[in-house]
Each structure stands twice: as structure tokens, then as C-alpha cells.
Amino acid sequence: MNHNHQEQWTSIIQPSNGWFDIKFKEIWNYRDLIVMMVKRDFVAFYKQTILGPLWYLLQPLFTTIVFTVIFGQIAKLPTNGLPQMLFYLSGTVMWNYFAACLNTTSNTFVANAAIFGKVYFPRLVIPIAVVITNMLSFGIQFLLFLSILLFFICQGAVPIPNLWILVTPLLLLQMGCLGLGCGIIVSSMTTKYRDLSLLITFGVQLWMYATPVAYPVSMVSGLMRWVLIVNPMTAIIEIFRYAFLGGELIPLWYWGISGTMTVILLMISIVLFSKVEKNFMDTV
């Protein structure tokens, strides 16, 4: 009888113990909430705006134009012989996805303190929803990229994409995990140290310049080259660019390092998250 009782408890609340205390099954049970959150964030973004979903297209276009003018025309940085427009757009679209994931997940706890303070659901639902929402806006921007690419192919300015485009989903997944991981690490720390959130805007910008968004890896050498190799975003953007635009492929062990970095960061983030999740309401 007593034993029977033990099994009937639907939930047991205990102090957090262990380093890896995330209940993935529970997150699966809340999958409908993830869908709702994605819907909410996506729809709420352009309600009561004049241009609506068009905003998703304008932002990368403007960035590309600015890059073309500053890096292409004024600084005259090389683009590996690729059309500047496509070169910058491919970098921007990819980087935007990562930066959006990182920026939004990094204030998960602080921005949602009001909801978190009143009701329980697996906290990881929020950053996961963010990563998926951003995937949708990435999809729109990616379509923009594809249509411009198609235009250039018809003009004969770039060759037809090679088979490497098949790894694109893998690259996206890796980028999502990376954005999620870094964002969660920052968000876990901002619950206690608010000043880190100021650092993040600045940090993301700095990180972009340490990533071959506006220049190719091939023009960098020496110590800076190593910075690029250790930076997990380098391989992702370079492979994406090679797949769709051709040019030079980076040595594949770069991608190996990048993948390992991603896994390590994601692990650290989950450990930190499970530590913070339960008691962050006391410090926020």
C-alpha cells in the first residue's frame, strides 16, 4: 500500500540537486505552449506596424547595402570574387539569425520575470520558442536571399549551387544550438548581474567583426586567423557561403572545432540553466 502511494505522486518538489536536472519529457508535454509562444512572438511582432512582415526583409537589405558601400566600395575588402551583394547578404542573413537568438534568449529570465513569478512551466520553453520564432524570420530572409541568388544565376554571375547546400539544415541547427547556448549562459548570469545585459549588445557587435560576415576568411592570417578558427560561427557562415555561392571551401577541421565548441557551450548552458531555473525568482 505504502509503496503504491509512492508511485502515485504526479510531481515531487525538491531542492535542485545534480548538475543536469532538466526534464526533457516535461518540455515535450508542453510542446503546445512552445507553438503558442512562437505564434505570439511572430504575430505580435508586426501587428500595428505599417509594413507588417516586410520588416523581416528590409532589415537585411539595408544592412547589405550599408556593407556594400562601406566594406565593398570604400574599404574595398575582397569578396573572393563573389558578387558583393550576395556575399554580404549571405553573411548578414546567417549572422542575423544567430544574433537574434543570442539577443533574445539572453534576457529570458529578466523579461519574463512577471510570468515566471506567477506560474510554473518548464522555463526552457521560452528560449526554445525564441529559437524557433527566429527560425521563421530567418526563413523569410532566406527566401529573399534565394530570390536574389536566382536573379544572379540567371544573369550568369554565379554558378549553380553545389551539393553542399544539403548540409544547410545542419548548419541552421548548429546555429540555433549555439545561439541558444550562449543566450542561456548570459541569461543565467543576468539574473544576478544585470550589467551583463548591457555588455551583450556590445558583445554581439564585437563578435560579428570577429566573424567573416563582411570579409572572407582567406584575407586573414596569423593570430587573427586563430581567433576566427576558434569562433564557431566562422565555419558555419563560410560553409553556407561556399554551398550557395561557390568560391573557396575552408579546411573541414575548422568545422570540427566549431561543432565541438557548440556542444561544449550548449552543455555549459544547460548546467547553468538547471542551477538557476528553480531559484532565480529569489535573485531577479
Partner: protein
């Protein structure tokens, strides 16, 4: 398993639950200050960022930690309505937070059978830009419902909220009444096995409060369990089948005799407060319209009186306050409660006809009002400052931890030999009687 076994089942089992909060360093919030504190401590100096705030000193340990809950154990059976009472800061909210998994315990455990929902969550996660329909789904899933479940109950929820026409309008265009109705409808259709209600009776309009209370009764009749936290002793006594008293983080008393628990709460409460004199030492209740300085029971000349008082004494209630900004809508006065927590009456300085209102002026004011002689019964009463800018905002909302005094009345009930003992009534007014003869005759 037989059904009656099931009925007496334990649905919540709390074992040695403790919750510790860190004081001082944790509140600093910036890395710089934490480093500063750490540097000071390593050099053996005093931490420049230590802040004790208003915590009860007896609960603070040497290492700057504070036990909001300590070794609390209890069980809740299915179908119980459990009332949780205690002073502000006693640990009630912490207990509820842990129960609803908003924050985790430091040690101990809670075992729960069934889905827990809280009426505190009314409207949590509503997004103003989304329509009513979208928000029903969003809010429902936040509370833990599956989409198919909401599909099934959707029409019912909308009908309950009475907003069929506006279901595709963004909720930011809703009136506050519609908003609350929709939010409540979602929560009410969650069908939780365990419902947590925290002070919900203090918010919303009368109809909403009634709906909440009704829902609670209904839910427990269906064999579900309700945890109810309130300062409203009348509601606790009427609704609850069991009560817990929490004091300074410890579980002081738990019993099926709800009246008994309420009594010991109220008795304890009064011992710790100054009996008939309150002074605003902590600078609380600051507002430009009426900033109270002192609140006491005194005789005609304003001298404080020693308890117990007699019912035939001249007793005055004094409120000293500073007014910075004159507002013609200012109404202040007191509310009188009996030992059980029932409110006997409110009285404001503006109750009389307008030309007789006492003249208030900028600066120090002393308001004074005589407690009616021969009206109350023997026993303990609580007097509370209440006040508001009429129909605009509460300055001192009744039962919301406003300054209060205890009065003890003993003796002086009447000059009549037949009315010398306490009657089992709320009041004991001395009223006039006369004999109207039917026909003219001599007695």
C-alpha cells in the same frame, strides 16, 4: 482501491520544508558591487553593501541568511479546503510560491498528486496585441493545458466569459471587466485537482469575488482540494475545513478546528502590537494628503488610556497626521473589527452633513472621534485607520496591513442589575424602552 480510500487520500504531502534567503550580497545586482563586497570581505573589512532592510532580526542567522520557512510539515487530504493564515512576512507566500513551483525549496520536499492551478495567475501571459481567441489558447497552454483540451472547452470558456462578440478583437481593446472575466474563465476551466487561491478576494469587484468564492466551494464539492490564503478571517472561517497558522517561518498550529486557529492567530497578533498607541516610527504610509504620525486611544484630554476600558467610559480615537496637499475628497476615519475579524462599522470624518465636517488644514492635524458609549460588548476589538480620496484611491485600505490598535472592553455594560454579564451578541447597545398602554389604566 475502494472509492472511500481514495476520498481520504493525501494529495499534498509537505515534509520538513525549509526555504532560506540570502541577505545582503544578493541584492546588489551588479558584478561591480559583488566584487567590491568580495574584496572587502577578503581583507576582513565590513561589507559595504550589506543591507538588512526590514527583516525580523530573530530570523537572521550569523551568516546573513534568513529562513522564510523552517521545517514545515503537513498533509492535505483530498477535498479539504485548507486555510493558511499568518502575519505579513510569516512565510505564507513563500509556501505558496514553492507549492506552485515558482521557486524551489532549500531543503525538504513536497509531493503532489494532480494538477495544481492558482487563481493568482488570472491573466498571466495575456498579450495585449493578440485577440481574445489567441489569448485563450496562449493562457491555457501556459497553465498547462493541451491544445486539444482547449479546443474542447473553448466554447464553454467564451460563453462563461460572456464575450462571444469580441473574441476576435485584440484584448487591449477590452474593458478591464471583460479582461478579467476572460482570464478567470480560462483559469476556471483548467479543472485542476488542487487550486491555490491567494488573497484573491482582495482584488476585483464584488461580483468577481463572489464568483471566485463560488468556484472554490464548487471545486471542493467535486472532491478537489483548495488551498486558501487570506487575511479575511470571516472568509477563512466560512470556507475552510482545516487551518494552518504560520508564524515567522514555523508552522505554529494546524487543526480541523478552524475557529481555534483563528483565535490563536488574532491573540498572538495583538500581543505584539502596542495595545492602544501607534506611532509612525518607520515613516510608513507616506502620502501628501494624509501622512499619519500617531494613532491612539485616549481620554477627552488626549491622554492615552490603560486597557481594559469600561463600556461606559468616554473613549476617544485620535489620529494625528500631516497634510501637505489639501484634497477636498479626503475621507479618513477608522474601521472597527471584533475578535473574529468581522467588521462592525466604518466611520469617516465626512459622515456628517457637509457643513459640519471638521476643518482640516495644511500641516499638523489631530482628528478625534468619540467611540460610542454603551454600544460595544465586552471583549476585544481592533481599530484600524482607513481612508481614501473618495472614489479615487485608497490611502489606507481596510484589512491591508494598515495601522491598527487593540481595545479591550471589560465591565460598564450597563447600570442595570440585569445587564452585567456579557451576552453572546456582537453589540450590547443600551436602548430606550417605554410602555405604551393600550387603555388608560393605573398599574
Amino acid at each position: 482501491m475502494r472509492s472511500e480510500d481514495f476520498m481520504s487520500d493525501t494529495v499534498i504531502k509537505v515534509e520538513n520544508l525549509s526555504k532560506q534567503y540570502q541577505l545582503g550580497t544578493i541584492g546588489s545586482g551588479t558584478l561591480y558591487r559583488d566584487l567590491q563586497s568580495w574584496w572587502a570581505r577578503t581583507r576582513g573589512k565590513e561589507d559595504p553593501n550589506t543591507k538588512l532592510g526590514t527583516w525580523d532580526k530573530s530570523q537572521i542567522e550569523g551568516d546573513q541568511s534568513y529562513w522564510a520557512l523552517k521545517d514545515v510539515s503537513f498533509e492535505v487530504k483530498q477535498g479539504d479546503i485548507l486555510g493558511i493564515i499568518g502575519r505579513n512576512g510569516a512565510g505564507k507566500s513563500t509556501l505558496l510560491k514553492i507549492l506552485s513551483r515558482v521557486t524551489g525549496p532549500t531543503s525538504g520536499s513536497i509531493k503532489i498528486k494532480g494538477r495544481v492551478a492558482s487563481l493568482l495567475e488570472v491573466g498571466t501571459g495575456f498579450h495585449p496585441e493578440l485577440t481574445g481567441r489567441e489569448n485563450v489558447y496562449l493562457n491555457g497552454t501556459i497553465l498547462g493545458m493541451r491544445k486539444t483540451e482547449i479546443d474542447r472547452k473553448f466554447d464553454e470558456i467564451v460563453a462563461f466569459a460572456e464575450i462571444e462578440k469580441f473574441i476576435d478583437t485584440p484584448v487591449k481593446r477590452y474593458s478591464s471587466g471583460m479582461y478579467v472575466r476572460l482570464a478567470f474563465a480560462v483559469a476556471a476551466h483548467l479543472d485542476p485537482e488542487i487550486l491555490i487561491v491567494d488573497e484573491v478576494l482582495a482584488v476585483g469587484d464584488a461580483a468577481f469575488q463572489k464568483k471566485c468564492l463560488g468556484k472554490m466551494g464548487e471545486i471542493s464539492k467535486e472532491g478537489r482540494t483548495v488551498l486558501f490564503v487570506s487575511h479575511n478571517m470571516v472568509a477563512i472561517e466560512q470556507l475552510c475545513s482545516r487551518a494552518l497558522l504560520i508564524e515567522k517561518g514555523y508552522l505554529k498550529q494546524q487543526s480541523d478546528n478552524v475557529k481555534q486557529v483563528i483565535k490563536s492567530y488574532l491573540a498572538n497578533n495583538s500581543n505584539e502590537k502596542q495595545l492602544a498607541f501607534w506611532e509612525n516610527r518607520d515613516g510608513e504610509f507616506t502620502n501628501p494628503y494624509f501622512h499619519p504620525r500617531k494613532f491612539y486611544i485616549g481620554d477627552k484630554s488626549g491622554k492615552t488610556m490603560i486597557m481594559p476600558l469600561r463600556n461606559d467610559q468616554e473613549i476617544y480615537i485620535y489620529i494625528e497626521a500631516e497634510i501637505e496637499v489639501m484634497d477636498s475628497a479626503l475621507t479618513v476615519g477608522y474601521a472597527l473589527y471584533n475578535e473574529e475579524g468581522s467588521c462592525l462599522y466604518w466611520s469617516y470624518q465626512t459622515d456628517v452633513s457637509q457643513e459640519k465636517w471638521p476643518k482640516l488644514c495644511k500641516g499638523e492635524n489631530v482628528l478625534c472621534s468619540q467611540l460610542p458609549k454603551h454600544l460595544l460588548n465586552e471583549g476585544g476589538y481592533r481599530v484600524e485607520i482607513i481612508g481614501s480620496l473618495h472614489f479615487r484611491e485608497w490611502l489606507f485600505e481596510p484589512s491591508k496591513s494598515v495601522p491598527s490598535l487593540m481595545i479591550q472592553i471589560e465591565g460598564g455594560l450597563s447600570d442595570s442589575p440585569y445587564n452585567q454579564h456579557r451576552r453572546p451578541t456582537l453589540l450590547n447597545p443600551i436602548l430606550q424602552w417605554e410602555c405604551k398602554p393600550l387603555i388608560e389604566r393605573e398599574c
